[in-house]
């Protein structure tokens, strides 16, 4: 059961670490690199709380064996947060009261960031589709949809 040396770029910083076989990207981020914004809500790709970007695309990091993305570029919510203040999307989540327990928020923001990167002026339908893999049990989604749409305009 050999461990692997993994080299990935995370939020612009080159990281090198040893991973046991089958370590998921989510586990590597949280347990090895100490980046805990991404959450483990289900571990089987059905809740979206672990959503991160790999080479520019939103993925469920709980489904990614870290060995399979050696050399990739990874972005997490920590990487989208400016050194001072908040990103427009973060500010919009604040302004629209789009958080309650907060556990889905990092994944929601990363799913929305991926949408806005490809489509800066999304329709409501686009927004709804973009977050359709992300579960929120508190808000009923409407405030989240509003927060994302507000940035798109």
């Amino acid at each position: 059961m050999p461990s692997s040396v993994i080299e990935i770029t995370v939020n612009g910083s080159e990281e090198e670490f040893i991973a046991k076989p089958g370590t998921t990207l989510l586990s590597a981020l949280r347990d090895t690199l100490g980046l805990t914004a991404a959450k483990r809500g289900c571990g089987v790709g059905t809740c979206g709380t672990c959503t991160c970007h790999v080479d520019g695309e939103a993925v469920m990091s709980c489904l990614v064996p870290v060995e399979t993305i050696n050399g990739s570029d990874v972005k997490t919510l920590e990487g989208t947060t400016p050194p001072e203040g908040l990103s427009p999307l973060q500010q919009s989540f604040l302004d629209n009261f789009a958080t309650q327990c907060g556990f889905c928020t990092p994944g929601m923001i990363m799913a929305a960031e991926a949408l806005l990167a490809q489509n800066p002026s999304p329709t409501r339908e686009d927004v709804v589709t973009a977050i359709s893999g992300n579960v929120c049990r508190c808000t009923g989604y409407e405030s989240i949809i509003e927060a994302i749409l507000a940035v798109g305009k």
């Binding site: 949280r30 914004a37 089987v44 604040l94 327990c101």
Partner: protein, 448 residues
């Protein structure tokens, strides 16, 4: 969507939509949830669970589990100081009738039998899967009304399949004479309602990390909804003084009632005490869905005596809450359900029987709307049916019967601060539902 409007209160901070204190942490991912803590040398606990709904345990063989590389401890009921408990003993409701780990039998599929502690989550899972249990199957009971029949197999130590309320087989509420009311009524309406178990489904699953402290105390990082409730119950199970434990919680990734049972902390504490290391035990999503206790399924019968003008003069409700295999919070829920009946209406003759019934399914417990949600479904569907049968406006039927300040509730408490009439009038306005003048003029503040 329109934002709610509120009347000015004349306050500086109260009544203002100030920003949430926790929102900055949420949008930056810096809010600390229990699982974001990652102490060095942490062990992982996973459970071997019953694969049967109802069975005697013939043999529990842990030898293969102990051989799995990385497994450091295998715990059975013999490791639990006070294996029999019930969480509501803290408020003197019920008696110890649930086990932390199964002893001689299992009462539900998923009941914990053996806890495996290992250096990695993967090894703990492998160890838990390696436990071998030999069962002798018993007939399971899945229907509440079957469970309370005199010849039903008794699941509980006290010999019946229902919770006993001070000598009664259910929580009773009695006002007036319901039979007299039925005799005087112009119409009788009797219907049955049923729900199924519902999961709280918080995005963060139930779990804890227990870290032994240098002074011999245990620090429990938990997503419990009730820190002291968890602390007190855990101490009772561990048979240690309350002061030996510290619970640290805070912001929880959703609760909805799903995190008021005490299912993960006690066994984690035992593992931490036996190994001297931090131990994490967190439900996976399957466990959260099928193992953690749901909102109880309920069966409700409502029989009403109603006059031609829509006045309800008698209401009899029989409620069966399916508690599953163990009490947890269900005996309290059945009492709360009884107190909620017959709904926000003033009815002179009321007869409520609210049962807490045990079956061979996942124990149910608290959820948002505890003891009331399914009752409201039954009550308000019943009101719609009565209105339809009498060819009445459904809001008029409700307004005629709505409770008001000064009315006597079925549980013998005088109503105050009522506002059912006003919310109905406002809702009618919102959707353009016209109400006749005399109903429009009603007020909760004026006696009937």
């Amino acid at each position: 969507m329109s934002a709610p409007t509120t009347e000015a209160g004349g306050f500086d901070v109260v009544g203002k939509p100030v920003q949430r204190l926790d929102a900055m942490g949420h949008v930056t991912g810096r809010t600390q949830y229990f699982e974001d803590y990652n102490p060095a040398g942490m062990l992982h606990l996973k459970m071997h669970r019953s694969e049967r709904h109802h069975a005697n345990l013939v043999e529990v063989d842990t030898s293969e589990a102990e051989k799995v590389k990385g497994v450091v401890k295998v715990l059975t009921y013999k490791d639990v100081p006070k294996n029999w408990y019930t969480i509501l003993t803290l408020i003197n409701v019920g008696y110890p009738e649930e086990v932390v780990l199964a002893e001689k039998k299992v009462l539900w599929m998923g009941e914990p039998i053996v806890a495996v502690v290992a250096t990695s989550e993967r090894a703990a899972l492998e160890g838990a899967a390696a436990v071998k249990v030999t069962y002798e199957d018993l007939e399971p009971i899945f229907d509440v009304e079957e469970a309370i029949k005199p010849d039903a197999f008794p699941l509980k130590p006290h010999g019946t399949n229902y919770f006993e309320y001070e000598g009664h087989h259910c929580r009773r509420v009695r006002l007036g004479d319901v039979e007299q009311g039925f005799a005087e009524a112009d119409h009788i309406f009797e219907f049955k309602y049923q729900s199924r178990p519902i999961e709280q489904a918080p995005t963060e699953t139930t779990g804890c990390i227990v870290e032994p402290q240098h002074n011999g105390r245990l620090k429990i990082y938990s997503d419990t909804q009730a820190c002291f409730f968890t602390l007190d119950n855990t101490a009772l199970i561990l048979d240690v003084p309350f002061g030996k434990l510290q619970v640290v919680g805070g912001t929880v990734g959703g609760g909805f009632g799903g995190k008021v049972d005490v299912t993960v902390e006690p066994i984690s504490c035992i593992a931490a005490m036996q190994t001297g290391k931090p131990v994490k035990y967190v439900y996976d999503r399957y466990e959260e869905m099928q193992i953690s206790s749901p909102r109880a399924a309920e069966r409700i019968y409502i029989k009403d005596g109603v006059m031609n003008d829509g006045r309800i003069i008698a209401r009899q409700c029989t409620l069966y809450a399916d508690a599953g295999a163990y009490s947890r919070h269900s005996p309290y829920a059945a009492t709360k359900a009884a107190a909620h009946m017959p709904g926000p209406y003033t009815i002179p003759n009321v007869h409520i029987d609210s049962w807490c019934v045990y079956t061979n399914r996942t124990p149910s417990s608290a959820m948002r709307g505890f003891g009331v949600t399914i009752g409201d479904f039954a009550l308000e569907t019943q009101m719609d049916r009565i209105a339809r049968e009498l060819d009445m406006d459904p809001l008029a039927l409700r307004l005629i019967n709505a409770y008001r300040d000064g009315d006597m509730k079925a549980h013998h408490k005088v109503a105050e601060g009522t506002a059912l009439i006003e919310v109905i009038q406002k809702a009618a306005d919102l959707v353009g539902h016209e109400l006749p003048g005399e109903l429009r003029a009603l007020s909760s503040r004026e006696g009937r």
